[in-house]
């Protein structure tokens, strides 16, 4: 990996403080590099040295005379540096190429942009040299490199950089995802340059990097998917790549050539080498590469607008690697194409992710709508966890938490939910969502949640109910594979000790990302917001549905009223007529001793039975609708009244009704409660074939459900298969005239009355031995205001 450093990106020596060894003079890697102990202190843009395989001259713009020269000009250019100072550049280039240089400077845009000028023929021991030129800070920088066209080419037919680049560009343009783009770019650049490994290195929002694409020699270990601490490429190095597309390093650790003099004789400023192909690598970078066994390198920028999105990094492991001006130009072009294509590819990729997210979320909403509850969101598949790239998810619905994946324990969720409920973000008009990739910084208890306390995204589904959905994302340090993690590979000690080893870098990084998760992508935040909007719509439409159901219910209650009236009047009137005629005919028949009189008697009986059925139906319809008059009622009085009312029915045989315990005072409708007891008591008396009927009325101690009353008899009991039937309207288990008859509405009315009070009714029975009917009256026993 690359490792560049600088003092806050500013070239120059001013204000760097007396503590630096080169204080007061220009910096040189060669001279001061070994004194560097801190990444951030090295001035990487003004290293004072170039890579020794080439030579460099700094010319004054006005007269093109040499102001500075690299110390190795003697070997490459045939003149000692000291001898070149103050001389016209024609001494090196010759008159013709000096004229070309003047034309180039006058015509072309050379400012911070290196242009090919000419190739100097080989002479004596010096090889042929490519000459390139650019301007920076008002001076002309001329670079000489013994590479490329000046070398004999292996096979002119197969060496066609422009053709190769055209081919590569055509392939890159077809890439429709970042992944494919990265795969093509790394493969093309490796094939073009012959480097051993080429990677796409992507910067995350927190500054750390990840290898997202890789092309490598087959025998090399894959680095794809490894993450690297932000410190590996400090801000000062990133600044270089915002200005310059490409950075070659022919041979790691090769001798450097210092500029003579180090600072410009007129301005006193060191040379800004940001745009020099020959720029000497920082001592940190060299050491970092050496620690990884890299012998040559090439790094290119991937930019998105002004932002540095990532790098394309090439490594070579088998000694020096020449990259000619032409080759570098081809690579630079590819880097530019990748940068341009990359935006489109990322947009496409985000669109795909967005569609994917929306698809799953939509499915979840449909599920919730179909099953009529938010709990469907976690029943799956799919679940909330499939939708979002998160470690865990939790749903708060009706005060209870449903969890999936890595989430904090329930008690912690409860506290977090309470904290979130007061966050203004959740009720923001524009974007009602709480998003953080460092939860513990805002909510300190999260620091203790190992593995799930990194990032949080939360949406509220309903303010009044407090329903919310949370997505947790684990800490980055626990969720990714770290390049340089000491657990992954043996520790390597550099020549200067621990300062630049992967371990040191890793430890620094872990400190900086502790408690942080990978940031939430905007596409994820947007999806969560859309999800919320759809769910809210669902909740609202459900409320509307309920309202319309209520309206329907009210309508059907009115219908029931109308029906009750029909039952009470319109059906009874003809029934009264039938009874009248049957009565008259029966009277006549009795006088004549007519055999029909039996059948007429039957007709009269049936008419009366129908009359009582109609009465029951009418009464039942009223029970459900008449408003309750709730007041503290002494149940002892109510039971006494009920016993009195059923007393007349005890005429057949002896019966005893006992109330052994004192009954409480409860908040009920007195008349309705008495009706409940009358119905239960009359049933208890009615369905009994013992010589002595025994009935007990009692109650249990008040519990959380309220007070439970019971009426127990020693009667005929109910077979288990009939237990569910007894509360049904007009359901009778016995012959009409057995056990004194009845319409079969009594228990239905009991259940209705108890339910109107918010209670429950049930029974226990042993067939042939007796039954006990229970019912509850909710709430605590009431104090009777005038008790005493």
């Amino acid at each position: 990996m690359s490792h560049y450093t600088a003092v806050d990106g500013h070239p120059g020596v001013e204000g760097e403080g007396a503590q630096l060894p080169w204080a007061g003079q220009a910096y040189s890697v060669k001279r001061f590099g070994v004194t560097i102990t801190n990444c951030e202190s090295e001035p990487v843009q003004t290293p004072g040295c170039i890579q020794g395989h080439g030579a460099l001259l700094v010319l004054n713009r006005s007269d093109l005379r040499v102001a500075q020269a690299s110390e190795n000009t003697d070997a490459l250019l045939g003149h000692a540096a000291a001898a070149l100072l103050g001389q016209p550049v024609s001494l090196v280039l010759g008159a013709q190429d000096e004229a070309s240089l003047r034309r180039l400077l006058g015509r072309e845009d050379c400012e911070r942009n290196s242009r090919y000028l000419c190739t100097l023929a080989a002479r004596d021991s010096a090889p042929a040299l490519d000459v390139s030129v650019h301007m920076v800070d008002g001076v002309v920088v001329v670079e000489f490199e013994a590479t490329g066209r000046s070398q004999p080419r292996p096979d002119p037919a197969s060496w066609d950089p422009i053709g190769r680049v055209q081919h590569s560009v055509a392939r890159l343009q077809k890439a429709d995802t970042l992944q494919v783009l990265g795969d093509i770019a790394t493969a093309e650049i490796r094939s073009l340059t012959g480097l051993d490994r080429v990677m796409v290195y992507r910067f995350h929002a927190d500054g750390h990097g990840e290898i997202v694409a890789e092309s490598r020699r087959d025998d090399l270990a894959p680095w794809l998917g490894l993450h690297y601490p932000a410190q590996d490429i400090p801000e000062s190095a990133r600044e270089i790549f915002r200005q310059s597309w490409i950075r070659p390093l022919r041979e790691v650790g090769a001798p450097l050539a210092e500029l003579v003099p180090l600072a410009h004789p007129d301005t006193g400023r060191p040379l800004t080498m940001t745009h020099c192909a020959l720029r000497g690598p920082s001592v940190m970078h060299t050491e970092y590469l050496q620690n990884m066994g890299v012998t040559a390198g090439l790094t290119m920028a991937i930019r998105r607008g002004d932002q540095l999105w990532g790098l394309i990094t090439g490594h070579h492991y088998g000694g020096a690697h020449d990259l000619s001006f032409e080759m570098r130009a081809a690579c630079e072009l590819l880097a530019v194409v990748v940068s341009l294509q990359h935006r489109a590819a990322q947009e496409r990729e985000e669109l795909v992710y967005r569609l994917q997210l929306d698809g799953v979320l939509q499915q979840l909403v449909t599920q919730a709508a179909h099953e009529g509850g938010l709990s469907a969101l976690l029943d799956g598949p799919p679940t909330l966890l499939d939708a979002m790239s998160a470690g865990g998810t939790a749903l708060l619905h009706r005060d209870s938490w449903t969890r999936a994946g890595a989430v904090p324990p329930e008690a912690e969720l409860q506290a977090l939910g309470a904290w979130l409920a007061n966050r203004p973000e959740l009720i923001d008009v524009e974007r009602p969502i709480f998003v953080t990739d460092a939860l513990a910084r805002e909510y300190p208890p999260a620091a203790a949640w190992a593995g799930c306390g990194g990032g949080l995204m939360a949406i509220a589904l309903s303010r009044t109910l407090g329903d919310m959905v949370l997505w947790f994302r684990p800490e980055t340090s626990q969720s990714v594979r770290w390049g340089g993690n000491p657990d992954d590979k043996p520790q390597v000690l550099g020549p200067h000790g621990m300062r630049l080893t992967p371990r040191r870098s890793f430890e620094l990084f872990i400190d900086s990302v502790r408690g942080r998760s990978l940031p939430w992508k905007s596409v994820e935040v947007d999806a969560a917001l859309r999800f919320r909007a759809i769910l809210m719509e669902l909740v609202v439409s459900r409320a509307a549905q309920l309202a319309s159901l209520n309206a329907d219910l009210a309508r059907s209650n009115d219908d029931l009223d109308a029906f009750a009236y029909v039952a009470s009047h319109d059906l009874k009137e003809p029934l009264r007529g039938i009874h009248k005629y049957a009565h008259q005919m029966a009277t006549d028949a009795a006088e004549r001793n007519d055999p029909d009189r039996e059948r007429l008697a039957g007709l009269l009986r049936l008419a009366m039975r129908m009359d009582s059925l109609l009465d029951s139906l009418l009464h039942f319809s009223r029970v459900g609708r008449v408003a309750l008059l709730l007041e503290p009622v002494d149940v002892n009085e109510v039971v006494a009244e009920a016993i009195e009312m059923v007393d007349g029915r005890r005429r057949d045989k002896p019966a005893e009704i006992v109330v052994p315990v004192r009954l409480p005072v409860v908040q009920v409708d007195r008349v309705r409660l008495r009706e409940v007891f009358v119905n239960l008591l009359s049933n208890a008396l009615k369905y009994n074939d013992r010589p002595i009927t025994q009935v007990e009325v009692g109650c249990s101690a008040a519990g959380p459900q309220g007070v439970t009353f019971f009426v127990r008899d020693n009667g005929i009991g109910i077979q288990p298969r009939h237990v569910d039937q007894v509360f049904k309207m007009f359901k009778r288990l016995h012959g009409r005239d057995e056990f004194g008859g009845g319409t079969g509405a009594g228990l239905t009315i009991v259940r209705k009355l108890v339910e109107r009070h918010g209670g429950d009714v049930w029974l226990e029975s042993t067939f042939g031995q007796g039954s006990t009917f229970f019912f509850t009256i909710p709430g605590l026993p009431a104090a009777k205001p005038d008790a005493g």
């Binding site: 009750a564 009236y565 009047h569 009137e573 009264r576 007529g577 009874h579 009248k580 009565h583 009223r622």
Partner: protein, 146 residues
Amino acid sequence: MLGDPVAHVVLVEDSDEDADTAEEALRRTLLPVRMQRVSSGGACLALLTGGPGLLPSLIVMDLGTPGLDGRDALREIRRDQRLSGVAVVVTSTSANPRDVDFCYLAGANAYHVKPVHHQQHLDAMTALFEYWLRRVELPMPQPCPR
């Protein structure tokens, strides 16, 4: 009381069977009464305000007649000052407290539920006539308003 004009009763009843029962009940009282039957509330109002002659002493009004029903007729009668002296007794199949309350609030003098059982029905109607025409003193009949 000898010499008194024969009492005049109006029966508002759409059911022939119930009207028959009412007539039988009235016969059983042996009272010298002239009963006139109409089968709707509307017809009753027309009779009261259409003259000539005197207003009835008693109206026996079934609640559920077709057209303008007993409720409407009752309300109309009590709204008219000139008819305020007429006793109105409601008979109905409905024992619904809502109906009972309505009728008393609208000015009914009594409310009777008609049982389905014929003998009980006959007895109830007989008692009604016995009470209102024999036990109770009713005001002197007034001329019908026009």
